[in-house]
Symmetry: C2
Subunit: 297 residues, 2 copies
């Protein structure tokens, strides 16, 4: 599994690599950006931990690369950050029949679709959590272990990507994959909100019992928080999607009486919206959180 | 002169205001963004210094607001930053007949045009350095001096905006306006490079002697650096426009034997390009430079 380079951009003290590769899971080319911090180029040679940032509806790898400003934090602490795409792309990929922003292209929702015509290509769960990390590991660590893509990684994301981060973290909990999870304005309970219901119906079908396997607010009830993990969430109080789509209160409600109670740290921040102005404002706090969990501080 | 609000966005510890106003100089509505740092809301009440960031070709006020990451620096030091537009806008505004990216809309070049059909609207020099600062001063300081828009300000910019910053700083030198100037990959000698020659021909006509009044590499020879001012410049070594359009060496050559010799600090940074990845990487250094000149550290 090889990657092509579409650009190598000097940024802060390291480089942002714009890559693409043929994905077997997705059945087409996928773009992915990765920031290699200054420690990659002049560090002590120890493997550098990786954080995955999953973007939200409509986004490509470029949005967060340009606007979230993780790079300076990556240099501060010595981690690498991977910005995957949010869906399959290309003329051969089926899109929403209405070409809406919240389903189909740009809206893969980080699930493996089972419904036609999406099941062949929309395999974003397997892509993000299996194929991509292993492909990156193979590509970058050919000669020596330079970056830790698979084990002891961090995962975070924004909105739909926050959903993807929570789900991945919980589904792999205790399996030596993600040791750190945070989210910016995540969709926490997709079964109960319009964005999630539309995506799950289209990608997974109408069986709402099945949806629960893909919904962090259900999954978390069956995951024992054996290590006292905390999950850091920021949510803007002026986010126009807060009341209808995001609802962090539903996750807090779901974990009452479980081993996750008081472990989900939801910070509702006054006046912030849903944009990258919000994300970039709290990236420094999330970077410190992940750096601590990854053993960097 | 009043401003309309098109949005007030929480960002870092302050707010980004998206404003627009009817400009007399330009003869149409102009957008401008301003970041008010946390000190504006909870500071000691002393007037907050302002830095103007002039953007490059094709940009609106949004590009630098989203991608340059001045905001966190503004909070660090306690300055405000103003992001003006780069040209007149609107259906009634004459554009380049070829609709090129480097002339007409999005490419006002920070000069007052004298040539038809541009002279009526393309008055960016008077707009940026006279009308806008005074209009902002009137609007924000109605009741008390909260922000210092006119005197003791900083000015900086990127590419065409770096040209605009250098020119404004030098033309107002010693007039208690700009006390601090820096630039990111500026066009330093427009008379000698294609972008500048195209703009000056179209906006100012064919008299090349006249162009010198608008060219920092000529203007600077007639400005006595009485206060030992330094100008900070960063320039990426892999900038595709370096050799043909930007040429910081021409400014260094121009100041040889003048009071500016050794005062223009050109940092050629290895591998950086012309994008906002480059700008944002060096904003922290420029912020510290301006903060020092503005008496904030």
């Amino acid at each position: 599994m090889s990657f092509e380079s579409n650009g190598e951009i000097a940024c802060c003290g390291g480089k942002l690599l714009k890559l693409s590769h043929k994905s077997n899971e997705i059945g087409s080319h996928m773009d992915v950006n990765i920031y290699l911090p200054k420690q990659y180029y002049n560090g002590d040679g120890n493997p550098i931990p990786v954080i995955y940032f999953l973007s939200g509806l409509t986004c490509t790898p470029q949005n967060a690369s340009e606007k979230a400003f993780w790079q300076i934090q990556a240099d501060n602490y010595g981690f690498s950050i991977v910005f995957p795409d949010t869906s399959p792309r290309g003329d051969e990929i089926p899109d929403d029949k209405d070409q809406s922003y919240d389903f189909g292209l740009g809206a893969g929702f980080y699930v493996d679709a089972t419904e036609k015509p999406f099941a062949d290509h929309y395999r974003m769960f397997s892509y993000i959590h299996e194929e991509l990390p292993h492909a990156l590991d193979k590509f970058f660590n050919r000669d020596a272990k330079k970056l830790e893509f698979v084990h002891n990684t961090g995962i975070t994301g924004h909105s739909m990507g926050g959903y993807g981060a929570l789900t991945g973290f919980l589904k792999y909990y205790g399996k030596d994959r993600y040791v750190s999870c945070s989210a910016f304005a995540p969709i926490v309970n997709p079964s109960q909100v319009p964005w999630g219901q539309k995506a799950f119906t289209g990608y997974l079908g109408h069986d709402k019992e099945l949806w629960k396997q893909h919904d962090p607010s259900y999954i978390i009830k069956n995951v024992d928080n054996t290590t006292g993990s905390e999950i850091l969430i920021h949510q803007g109080s002026s986010d126009p999607f807060l009341e209808k789509q995001l609802r962090p209160d539903l996750l807090l409600e779901a974990v009452k009486g479980t081993s996750w109670e008081n472990k989900i740290k939801v910070n509702v921040v006054d006046g912030f919206d849903h944009s990258y102005y919000f994300v970039s404002s709290f990236v420094p706090q999330h970077a410190a959180f992940h750096a601590k969990n990854l053993g960097l501080i």
